[in-house]
């Protein structure tokens, strides 16, 4: 029984680690800002979820009573991850960050003439 629990915990930990790693990999090597957003918002959520479940199972087996604190962390993560991703994307659009040429679709937000206010200067490049 102990062995089964340990196996489950280690599997979850490894899966979590792999997902978080792939998420960070995506952030490091995808081509443009908007694509990089996808890594941390998704792969990381499940990765951390796996680790938290592992922690929950571990303390359940050690202390003998279930502990739902980890569930709260997961819940907060699910609430905050999309909001921060949305804000980052909005900021990217506002700064008119470039996207790779194969991106299809031309959102109004990235056309100069239709954005109401002048875009704020880019932190590195100024308006140019």
């Amino acid at each position: 029984m102990q062995l089964v629990i340990e196996a489950i915990i280690s599997l979850l930990l490894i899966a979590g680690g792999v997902f978080v790693f792939i998420g960070s990999l995506g952030m490091a090597h995808l081509r443009d800002f908007y694509m990089r957003l996808h890594g941390p918002t998704k792969a990381t959520t499940l990765g951390i979820g796996c680790m938290l479940i592992a922690s929950m199972v571990y303390f359940w087996s050690v202390e003998g009573k279930p502990d739902i604190q980890e569930m709260l962390i997961t819940l907060f993560l699910f609430i905050t991850a999309p909001v921060s991703a949305h804000l980052l994307a909005k900021t990217g659009l506002h700064l008119q960050l470039p996207h790779i040429d194969t991106t299809e679709g031309k959102p109004v937000e990235l056309r100069d003439e239709e954005v109401g206010d002048k875009p704020v200067p880019h932190p590195d490049r100024g308006h140019g």
Binding site: V18, G23, L30, T41, A89, E104
Partner: protein, 165 residues
């Protein structure tokens, strides 16, 4: 905006805050009830101006089913995105998509936008000021129409049923 109603503008939120507080400190001592109770009363009083009135849930069971479906989709989304990222031979076809909304309430639109961000290959990027369309960035799309249709049938219609009609 929620109309101020004496000292307890949002009773459900207050109870939720108290429960979360007790779970976080992992103790059910009397002192924690007092502290959590104070927070549960003070926080809504300070923040109720920022809250939209929450539309009533008309079909709670559908909401439960929706939650489970989203949870399942989050898992598949992770596998999909992990596969897309880690496969070096695949050329991605990123896509900006304008998604015409049929939802009207701000609260439900927020729910939809969060769902889109958490599920396969899409991040909601911008809600237009008029509240009629949502800009979505998708990581890899073959058929734009199909994706819009999928979001419409899978998430937006259930949300509409649960809250609005």
């Amino acid at each position: 905006m929620i109309t101020p109603r004496s000292w307890l503008p949002t009773p459900v939120l207050s109870i939720l805050l108290l429960i979360v507080w007790l779970l976080l400190v992992r103790s059910y001592a009397f002192g924690q009830f007092v502290l959590g109770g104070t927070l549960a009363i003070v926080i809504p009083l300070l923040t109720y101006r920022f809250w939209d009135a929450r539309p009533r849930i008309k079909k709670p069971f559908k909401l439960l089913r929706y939650g489970l479906r989203v949870l399942g989709d989050i898992v598949t989304a992770n596998f999909e995105v992990a596969y897309l990222i880690s496969n070096p031979w695949r050329t991605l076809k990123p896509h900006f998509i304008e998604y015409p909304l049929i939802l009207e309430e701000r609260f439900t639109i927020t729910l939809l936008a969060s769902t889109i961000s958490l599920t396969p290959g899409t991040v909601s990027a911008n809600l237009r000021m008029d509240g009629k369309s949502l800009l979505i960035h998708a990581l890899n799309v073959d058929d734009e129409e199909a994706l819009i249709e999928q979001i419409r049938e899978r998430y937006e219609r259930p949300l509409k049923e649960i809250y609005e009609c």
